[in-house]
């Protein structure tokens, strides 16, 4: 995965702002997308994912800022002059054309020779496993098949970047899972850069090299699935990706790489740096990292009472009520540590299994790659 990604960005967004009238939809975003990368824009409905993608494709002009495609400023360039192709959520297949003509559309515009067009269309239809469907009209095909025609129609042009806006949104779960893997393999095989939009975090985690988490028109965090899950940078990310226990804390004391935290639920000491005394922060612990003990554990003073244990097949989901009524979520394998409901327990977790986050940056946090020294997986 790493070797095919050289460090030169193929697409760069620089301080991109998009307003519809007074409505600020994309708020000064910065993003570098690298050759051969599978990058996903993930976020809740209305956060500006589609708008961002449409600005890259050239369907929407930019209010402020710049977009570069291979170092070339795209300002004022219409879609037909950009070497990117889009897979639309509604597929947007031409209803009056059969599969062959749909797929050949871009090649015809390039004035390619007929024989060559035929060869290329055949190859790409084979790639998406639609050989034999050439004469079908779009309304004679299933959603999954239409989807693959839309992909074939885009990739046959050999674009530098493929933009996909929730391409699997209309498919049922089983087909969607299958298509996720197919798309991922296709991307690796073709070595085309994919910019993928979804609001499904599992889908994003399955497919992406990197994920950009969007919220209210800004990127909350950009990183690999693992980075985002293990080290969420903001409370929003911690909440949005997977489940989290989030404690509001205040830094009580800073001792040599260790911080003493006070919270309503009790006190803990964690190994963190970069915080000041009296600063308010969020402490995030994933449910699977919460451990329980009958006796107090050193560095932790978190007492609670087990409210319930729920078996969900492979896991046990435990809810622990803390002193202030806060409910802590804990998951464990059935053979893991477990106490019956009503037991008094002391919570703890292993070193490095919690993440401490600044609060003042929670909402206005804007990720800038260069400041981070690049966050590409290595």
């Amino acid at each position: 995965m790493t070797e095919k990604m050289d460090k030169k960005p193929i697409i760069s967004l620089r301080n991109v702002i998009k307003k519809y009238g007074e409505n600020l939809v994309v708020n000064k975003i910065n993003l570098d997308i690298y050759q051969g990368e599978f990058l996903t824009l993930l976020g809740a409905s209305g956060c500006g994912k589609t708008t961002t993608l449409r600005m890259i494709a050239g369907f929407e002009d930019i209010t402020e800022g710049e977009i570069f495609l291979e170092d070339e400023n795209m300002a004022g360039k219409p879609p037909y002059h950009r070497n990117v192709n889009t897979v639309f959520q509604s597929y947007a297949l031409f209803p009056h054309m059969n599969v062959f003509d749909n797929v050949a559309f871009g090649l015809v515009e390039k004035k390619m020779k007929k024989a060559e067009i035929r060869k290329k269309v055949r190859e790409v239809l084979e790639l998406v496993q639609l050989t034999g469907f050439e004469r079908r009209k779009p309304d004679q095909m299933s959603g999954g098949q239409k989807q693959r025609v839309a992909i074939a129609r885009a990739i046959v042009n050999n674009p530098r970047v493929l933009l996909l806006d929730e391409p699997l949104g209309a498919l049922d779960l089983k087909l969607r899972r299958q298509m996720q893997l197919d798309l991922k393999h296709l991307q690796q095989q073709l070595n085309i850069t994919f910019v993928y939009v979804t609001h499904d975090q599992e889908e994003a985690m399955t497919m992406s090299d990197r994920i950009a988490i969007m919220n209210g028109g800004v990127f909350e965090q950009i990183g690999t699935a693992e980075e985002i899950y293990e080290h969420p940078k903001t409370k929003f990310v911690a909440d949005f990706i997977g489940e989290s226990n989030i404690f509001e804390t205040s830094i009580h004391a800073v001792e040599e790489k260790m911080l003493k935290l006070i919270m309503e639920q009790g006190d803990v000491t964690v190994r963190e740096q970069g915080f000041e005394v009296n600063e308010i922060a969020y402490l995030c612990v994933r449910p699977e990292n919460i451990k329980i003990s009958e006796f107090p554990v050193e560095g932790f003073n978190l007492k609670g009472i087990i409210k319930e244990n729920i078996y969900v097949g492979s896991q046990i989901k435990t809810t622990i009520e803390m002193i202030n009524g806060y409910l802590v979520k804990k998951t464990a394998f059935p053979d893991g540590d477990m106490k019956p409901a009503g037991s008094i327990v002391y919570l703890y977790w292993d070193d490095g299994k919690s993440v401490l986050m600044h609060t003042k940056e929670d909402k206005i946090y804007n990720y800038i790659e260069s400041a981070e020294g690049g966050s590409i997986p290595s």
Partner: protein
């Protein structure tokens, strides 16, 4: 067993109101369309009696009369004018329909009203308005002379007839085309642009083909009425040009020859049916409804 019975009852419940709903239409159609049509067809095969009466003696004389070169010329002229009307109507309507399909909300309402509003006024009055503007000493020419240009003699020509017809049938072309264009997913235009097609190419490869059902339906709705229209030719042509519609009207009124009027009508109807049949063969019949 029980279930079946229930189903039957349900079916009955459905058929009864359905019958009640369609029967007025059926009765209306029967009274005003079928009966009069049959009557026309029957008398077209009869003989003309003295003083505009019908002699109930079968004959093909009226149809043989139609083969008279004078009448055939009228027929050809009518088809020509109807075809010209359709072509000009299409040329004027298409850009308008495109603009109309792109607007939304209040603006669209306004456009629609502007398009349809004149048609709430009687056609004769509107046409006479045009006569006032276009005639030799009319508003247009006095304006032209005021700014020092040559006056034009447009009234009472074939051009004036076509103009009057284009004006009269414009909405019947604009609305179906607008309908086709509005149904088109705007993402298709983006997809075409995304795949490298510039505006004109996108129009040729996507917009135009997808609006063909509208063009078909608009063409029929313009061509057929302009084939039979007579008052437009009377007013705009000043009686200089005789069209099929005028001919039929004259047979029934001044010539008092009902069988031949009926026979010419049947010719027109049959011709219309043939045109529609040909059209349906080329286009998609479903879209013509």
């Amino acid at each position: 067993m029980k279930k079946e019975k229930k189903k039957k009852v349900k079916n009955q419940n459905h058929t009864l109101p359905l019958l009640a709903m369609i029967s007025p239409t059926v009765i209306w159609l029967f009274l005003f369309l079928v009966i009069s049509l049959v009557y026309i067809i029957v008398i077209s095969f009869m003989t003309k009696g003295p003083f505009g009466t019908i002699k109930w003696m079968p004959s093909l004389q009226s149809y043989i009369d139609f083969l008279n070169p004078v009448y055939l010329k009228v027929f050809r002229k009518s088809v020509e004018i109807a075809a010209l009307t359709t072509v000009f109507c299409l040329l004027v309507s298409y850009p308008f329909a495109m603009a109309l399909s792109k607007t939304t909300g209040k603006k669209k309402m306004l456009f629609m009203i502007l398009l349809v509003l004149p048609f709430w006024i009687n056609g004769l009055i509107r046409l006479n308005g045009w006569v006032n503007i276009l005639r030799e000493t009319g508003i247009l020419n006095s304006l032209l002379m005021k700014i020092g240009l040559q006056p034009i003699n447009f009234m009472y020509t074939d051009g004036a007839i076509v103009f009057g017809m284009v004006y009269a049938f414009l909405p019947f072309m604009v609305l179906p085309i607008n309908n086709s264009l509005s149904k088109m997913d705007p993402a298709l235009l983006e997809a075409a642009s995304d795949l490298g097609a510039k505006k004109f190419r996108t129009f040729c490869r996507v917009t135009l083909p997808l609006s063909i059902p509208g063009i078909f339906s608009g063409t029929i709705q313009t061509f057929i009425p302009s084939l039979g229209a007579f008052y437009i030719a009377d007013i705009m042509g000043g009686g200089n040009t005789m069209l099929l519609g005028n001919l039929i009207k004259n047979q029934f009124t001044s010539a008092r020859n009902w069988p031949s009027g009926a026979a010419f009508s049947v010719v027109l109807i049959v011709f219309t049916l043939i045109v529609m049949k040909l059209y349906n063969k080329v286009g998609n019949p479903e879209d013509l409804v």
